[in-house]
């Protein structure tokens, strides 16, 4: 979805970021952040090194309290690093705040900003004035974005009466008002239903794809969202980056073996007859729903762990000599959750519930 062409905009029509003063849209060098607290200081970031290229859709994945929000606050100039340096398109977050604020925007999940007395259209226009748009230019931009996010029917509705999904669409429209070069999204689909979350993801992807060089930094603890949207992901826990790479690369990190699920019309002697074949690490009957479905179809389901994909040829040949025919064959892929468990030693849901840092 993140690679879909943008409606109405030809990539060749729009400028590329030719004047970048840095090779990186985002750059962090040995960034730490320690909060003063009692009885002991809290280390939210414990030495972050990160580079995000212009145009990249980059994700920070981690449980609550991992340090994702702290890192976003540093890049959005709301917070200074305790030590280390952070830059956005080459601008130092410590001293070049105005420049950064002119080229970025941020949208957070569950955001309740604005004034309930205003309508959607008025609220967005107010923010357009803060972002440097002209008075009339602001109204035009607001009307375009209201249509884009699908709030046409609610445009004259007071924001205090919007649903959570409508509110978040409006927040996203606000985040796009100033045509930022970099958009920071902090849990943007938090609390949204499936449909509203899908709309938000589509909008962000389309917006980014419209101009080469537009960059998105997304924090989320929804693994599927990160998997779907992000070109690269950093897995963060306890203020450190544990792994960084594309979703496929991260998954390959934990997939040392190839796992297949076989469904056969018969298998005399059971899965054990496959266990001794070259390259077969483990062969066992499939359990759970797979086993039940196979039973209904009067077939045999087997889980097969191989040293690598090449070993599958030997297995297929052996099955032929055993008189068994393959009814179905599927390769099992690890999920980002598997990656997280492997790296952190616990699942997301098992993570200690701390306040978002």
């Amino acid at each position: 979805m993140g690679r879909r062409p943008t409606p109405g905009v030809l990539v060749s029509d729009v400028p590329r970021p030719t004047d970048a003063i840095s090779d990186h849209a985002i750059e962090a060098r040995a960034v730490t952040r320690v909060y003063k607290a009692r009885p002991a200081p809290v280390t939210a970031l414990a030495g972050i090194d990160l580079e995000v290229a212009p145009g990249e859709f980059f994700g920070l994945l981690g449980p609550n309290g991992a340090g994702k929000t702290t890192l976003i606050k540093i890049f959005t100039t709301l917070l200074l690093p305790t030590t280390g340096t952070a830059r956005v398109f080459g601008f130092d977050v410590a001293v070049q705040t105005k420049q950064i604020r002119r080229i970025m925007n941020m949208v957070a999940g569950g955001e309740q900003s604005g004034y309930g007395v205003l309508t959607v259209r008025e609220q967005l226009w107010m923010f357009s004035q803060f972002y440097g748009l002209g008075t009339r230019e602001g109204w035009g931009r607001v009307d375009d974005l209201i249509e884009a996010v699908g709030l046409g029917e609610q445009r004259l509705q007071r924001i205090s009466s919007l649903s959570t999904g409508e509110r978040q669409k409006m927040n996203l429209a606000r985040g796009l008002l100033n045509d930022p070069w970099i958009l920071f999204l902090d849990e943007p689909t938090l609390g949204l239903d499936v449909s509203a979350a899908r709309v938000v993801r589509h909008l962000v992807s389309d917006w980014r794809a419209a101009v080469p060089g537009r960059t998105v930094l997304l924090t989320t603890h929804y693994m599927a969202e990160a998997d779907e949207l992000c070109e690269r992901i950093a897995i963060v826990d306890h203020g450190r980056i544990l792994a960084i790479g594309s979703p496929a690369e991260l998954k390959r990190m934990v997939q040392r073996e190839s796992i297949f699920r076989l469904e056969l019309d018969r298998l005399d002697g059971g899965p054990a007859v496959l266990a001794g074949l070259p390259g077969v690490v483990h062969a066992s009957p499939a359990g759970g729903a797979d086993a039940g479905a196979a039973l209904d179809r009067q077939t045999v389901a087997v889980n097969l762990v191989l040293t690598d994909d090449a070993a599958l040829g030997g297995v297929v040949g052996a099955l032929g000599s055993l008189g068994a025919h393959i009814v179905a064959l599927a390769k099992s892929e690890p999920s980002l959750e598997d990656v997280f468990v492997e790296l952190v030693g616990r699942g997301f849901d098992d993570a200690p519930a701390e306040a978002s840092r």
Binding site: G8, V9, D13, V14, A20, K36, L78, K98, Q129, G132
Partner: protein
């Protein structure tokens, strides 16, 4: 989808060009921010008519009570005028204390403050927008009180110098809203709860500013108020100018001196407002918190 400019609004060659604003762009951004932030305050006038009760009706009861007391005591008729003018100026003080001083605190709770800090304009422009929006809205409220009070209680103004009177009124508002802008940051820095802070300041300020009597009656305390509080000195100067030539002898400095006091107050409060705002932002970025004490 409406057209090809949907996701491409302002074409810049890259982030560096987009970040390089000239002085005119910076100035226009700040001026538009003033307008943008004043906007909800003015819109609120038409959308929340409850202000007629809370900011005109209820204060008018207090004004009426003092008028009746003065009449019962057969006080000079100028006292009735003092009370009505004081009642009109109440609208500004209520606006400053509730909608200026406490506002950033509420903006923080709502999440607006973070968005303000991440936007390119100067935060002082936001405060000016709040002040101008509040000032214009309160002018209407004050005018309603003044007209109704004058008609109902038959107040006779005796104005010899209109220009100084208007200048004093304008300077009073500048100094008063400058104080509000300063308090806005202080409330965020030091406030456990803006509601309590506001209530703490509201009544004492009514008293020492002499809203319902000439502030000179407070002796040393009144002199102190004239020296420190914009409402006290502004109100006293306006009364001297609006009821000139009457039998009341003012024991406070003449309007000319009070104008100077107001000018100094305006400069000092606006300067302090900027300083407090910078301190608040510095504290937020360095220490990761906006408050100077735990809430």
């Amino acid at each position: 989808m409406t057209g090809p400019n949907l996701y491409v609004h302002r074409r810049t060659s890259g982030p560096r060009a987009a970040a390089a604003w000239d002085r005119r762009q910076v100035l226009m951004n700040n001026l538009r921010t003033v307008l943008g932030r004043a906007f909800p305050r003015l819109i609120g006038l038409t959308r929340e008519p409850s202000w007629l009760l809370f900011e005109v009706g209820l204060p008018f009861l207090t004004t009426s009570a003092f008028v009746l007391v003065y009449r019962a005591l057969q006080a000079p008729s100028e006292y009735i005028g003092f009370v009505v003018v004081g009642g009109a100026m109440t609208a500004f003080w209520l606006n400053v204390i509730w909608m200026m001083a406490a506002q950033l605190y509420w903006e923080k709770d709502q999440g607006n403050l973070e968005l303000y800090f991440t936007a390119p304009m100067d935060m002082m422009a936001v405060l000016f927008g709040m002040a101008i929006g509040g000032m214009l809205a309160s002018c209407l409220r004050a005018a309603v009180v003044l007209v109704i009070g004058s008609v109902v209680y038959g107040v006779h103004f005796s104005v010899d110098q209109w220009l100084p009177l208007l200048a004093v009124f304008f300077l009073t508002l500048v100094a008063l809203y400058g104080l509000g802008m300063m308090l806005a940051s202080l409330f965020v820095l030091w406030g456990r709860e803006a509601f309590h802070m506001t209530q703490l300041l509201q009544e004492p300020m009514y008293f020492v500013s002499g809203l319902n009597f000439p502030v000179g009656q407070l002796g040393f305390l009144g002199a102190l108020a004239v020296a420190l509080l914009p409402l006290a000195v502004g109100l006293d100067a306006m009364r001297q100018l609006a009821f000139a030539g009457g039998p009341i002898v003012f024991t406070t400095p003449p309007p000319g001196v009070e104008v100077l006091i107001l000018v100094v107050m305006s400069v000092v409060f606006l300067g302090l407002a900027r300083f407090c705002l910078r301190t608040m932002e510095r504290l937020a970025r360095h220490e990761g918190r906006l408050t100077a004490r735990w809430r």
